[in-house]
Point group: C3
Chain length 175, copies 3
């Protein structure tokens, strides 16, 4: 049980990702989703293979279900949208419900870096956590906010995914 | 359901606030409450109308009840006191119990700014969150700590309350 | 009830601590534990009496039980290990289960300071909290990470323990 393998049969060594846009208006087709493509573009520049993108409305059950469906197929699931204070913003609640462990430091880092850009970054409620051997990351919904937030943490993600998959010989010396 | 109105019939467009001092000794009249008036003063300088101030003892049920009673009457509820490590300090626990969503970034910001003043700021356990369309903010109990903490975040509060009331045309581009 | 005494009959005024190393390999004797002794050494330099050190495997129930057993005997319980993203890293989950109150600011401070050393500090999921009148602190598992993290917060711990024991005349002016 010490070094279980990642449960992603199709890509044990590949950096696979799913991008989920959380937005009522994008989900019903009333708005073009710019944030999802931008997030996917950054991930691919960094060596990830984005195996799917999807859109879900701002509903806590729908979001949780989308996360649970995506996790077994990819090592990383990134959401954009639904992290603010709007009455329909419930992505963090859905993410907490889906995750078995939280990674508070990633969310803290996103907000601390964002605060250098705008004082309103403190209002972003995104959380990060793990579901099985998949990492889930919430990003803000604006294209710029999503891009800047992802850029802040993207370089630690490959190492995070290695740790999560039990793929380090020095696990116990790094955390 | 996309843009629900705030549930504060008397003041849909006004910046209304309630200030609650959490303190055993202030609640029984054994100590003059300096922090509540200071918090109220700062809010009024920033354009808020403080519709009431009250005092409650350091009891988790009493505090939660005070928050639930105050929320429908104001867009912002600010507490001062009970956020430390003392055996009776349970304001954060009562606030978590009352809130339906947490806004971790506001509490992180208060502590990060406080750490520039004193290393003991890390011991302040205050949380922030939403209850319906009302924002709840925990501040420390000392007049100086409460004032400095509020000053750190007060300028983002009007925008936060607009988002919370669904009053932005650009909700999806900011979070 | 305003100023209850600490429940540590043998050492009401002494800075007592227990150090727990969380590691499968150290628990079964396959690896020499360097982090536990390093943590204990730092605490003793700062005036703490380390009344015991122990090792527990990366099992959430075992860790929670170890925390509950240790708390009544010391004012401070420090763990090292099990805070990362490895499949067996569950020290934060056990700590949350054991604690009756969280002290988020200490964990935030450890990560913020660690981020100046390595970008991977954001992946440390350690939490801090209180169990009765005992403070529990999670540190990373590497000797260096544990030592640096503890050094970041060790100077506020005596004051934290005084507050926790109700031993300050000015409790209400500091938090």
């Amino acid at each position: 049980m010490e070094k279980p393998q990642a449960s992603h049969p199709k890509s044990p060594n590949e950096l696979t990702a799913v991008v989920i846009t959380v937005s009522d208006s994008a989900a019903r087709g009333a708005r073009t989703d710019e944030s999802g493509p931008r997030v996917a573009g950054i991930l691919e520049e960094k060596g990830f293979t984005v195996i799917s993108r999807s859109t879900v409305r701002d509903d806590v059950s729908d979001i949780e279900q989308a996360l649970r469906t995506a996790a077994p197929s990819a090592r990383l699931v990134v959401t954009t949208g639904g992290t603010g204070l709007g009455p329909r913003d419930v992505t963090p609640e859905a993410t907490r419900a889906a995750c078995d462990r939280l990674v508070d430091g990633l969310a803290e880092r996103i907000r601390a870096a964002g605060s250098a850009q705008t004082p309103f970054a403190v209002l972003s409620r995104g959380v990060c956590g793990t579901l099985g051997s998949t990492l889930i990351v919430n990003l803000p919904g604006s294209p710029r906010g999503a891009g800047e937030s992802l850029a802040t943490i993207v370089d630690v993600l490959p190492h995070a995914l290695d740790l999560l998959a039990g793929k380090t010989q020095h696990k116990e010396t790094t955390a």
